[in-house]
Symmetry: D2
Subunit: 144 residues, 4 copies
Amino acid sequence: MINRVILIGRLTKDPDLRYTPNGIPVSTFNLAVNRTYTNQQGEREADFVNCVAWNRQAETVAKYLKKGSLAGVDGRLQTRNYEAQDGRRVYVMEVIAESLQFLEPKGARTKNSEKDEPIPGGGYGDPFGDSDDPIDVSDNDLPF
Amino acid sequence: MINRVILIGRLTKDPDLRYTPNGIPVSTFNLAVNRTYTNQQGEREADFVNCVAWNRQAETVAKYLKKGSLAGVDGRLQTRNYEAQDGRRVYVMEVIAESLQFLEPKGARTKNSEKDEPIPGGGYGDPFGDSDDPIDVSDNDLPF
Amino acid sequence: MINRVILIGRLTKDPDLRYTPNGIPVSTFNLAVNRTYTNQQGEREADFVNCVAWNRQAETVAKYLKKGSLAGVDGRLQTRNYEAQDGRRVYVMEVIAESLQFLEPKGARTKNSEKDEPIPGGGYGDPFGDSDDPIDVSDNDLPF
Amino acid sequence: MINRVILIGRLTKDPDLRYTPNGIPVSTFNLAVNRTYTNQQGEREADFVNCVAWNRQAETVAKYLKKGSLAGVDGRLQTRNYEAQDGRRVYVMEVIAESLQFLEPKGARTKNSEKDEPIPGGGYGDPFGDSDDPIDVSDNDLPF
DNA sequence: TTTT
DNA sequence: TTTT
């Protein structure tokens, strides 16, 4: 059935990249999506949305996004539940990012640190081209 | 910032209509959105999404939707948190339904019970017209 | 870049299935999407959106949808242009349907004609299961 | 019925602001939305989408967006037709922008010309706050 | 009849 | 050149 989510927001912290037991990369990150309306006190609040990216997307997220990065996400809602340490069942809803758009201008991406350097011979290669455009990463590019 | 969710699913139970202390109607309901893909066991699972409707939408939801109804929702993601009875802070994400579409054929809606009768002289009137179409309710129609 | 369209509407005529020179199936169809608001004369109008489906989706559209069918579309906007017979350049925008949901109740689909019979040994098989649910067809199911 | 479009793209030229006979502001602009996939020649193409903004949105578009600006649009598809000078009927589909997000970093917006100065005492005021955030303008802010 |  |  139709299940579609589109968000633009900023990462509230650096993304977290892990691997499943079978070696599949998964990144999780939290997006602050500012509301367009203000509350009764006239303040603009935000919604804080947990997102998950898999495979190539996961690695690109980890490599190029960091706390404060502006990004667009096109994906779907997913719910799951698990048993907490104290035995309670915990219900979670998160956004599975099917396609991602980095909205930082190029300068903002390249002007900083070593951790942004592509690992020589590793990963899926550099997703950035010559243009000064925001970057798209789509599931269609997945090698599997 | 852009925050958009579109879902089609079925209510997993009857909606719950309440009123805020200032008399604003709020309906909550849970939508089962079937996945288009199957899991490793070849089963088709679903995501279970909590939704909230306000004002006129809230009353229409309560009046015309029930467990099993098929509906489309166009809205936005909202997060909030509250303190549970045991002192833990609970974080919740839900979909605020800005516009709703009832996707049951007319027969399915009218063939049953008393509770579907419009309250004489009450509410916002009957949202159903003459056509055999699914019904839309948009925030634009709100009387406030 | 993000490019997402979600529509629910009714086919204004039977879909048109053709094949590219390389044998790729393409269906085109037109969706009437009723507006939720009324015009100055108090009439409810509609938008008439041309849609295109490829491959397996194309064949499923042709087999199971017909004039009047209610369907949901999740896809993207695409523009193209071509030279008309009189030499003018014509600019077209249409929706590429990436995922489709048939919203007719099961009875409505099965109660009629020969053309709905699955061609024995042909096509991609019957997309309908046992449930009374609307049907999804996703590009993920494509055999290529 | 559900009718939702979300796009991120760049203006291919400066927006065009006009007024209806009753003084309602309307801006039209064209967005280049780059595709995430490449064609058979390995080139990345774009879709060129005509958009329309009304009222306050129209004036903000005209004041703050120009050729090359990156923007997000959340809106709906609308079709209309009119008679051309030569008597042919022309069918048009465009996106009505219900909510807009300016995605240029603040520096890019302020580093240039006089035409960006707010008209003293005129318009709807400056939509930019103190933050370094992209800007949202929603129909909810309309003064009518 | 196109943006970066 | 439109669906219910």
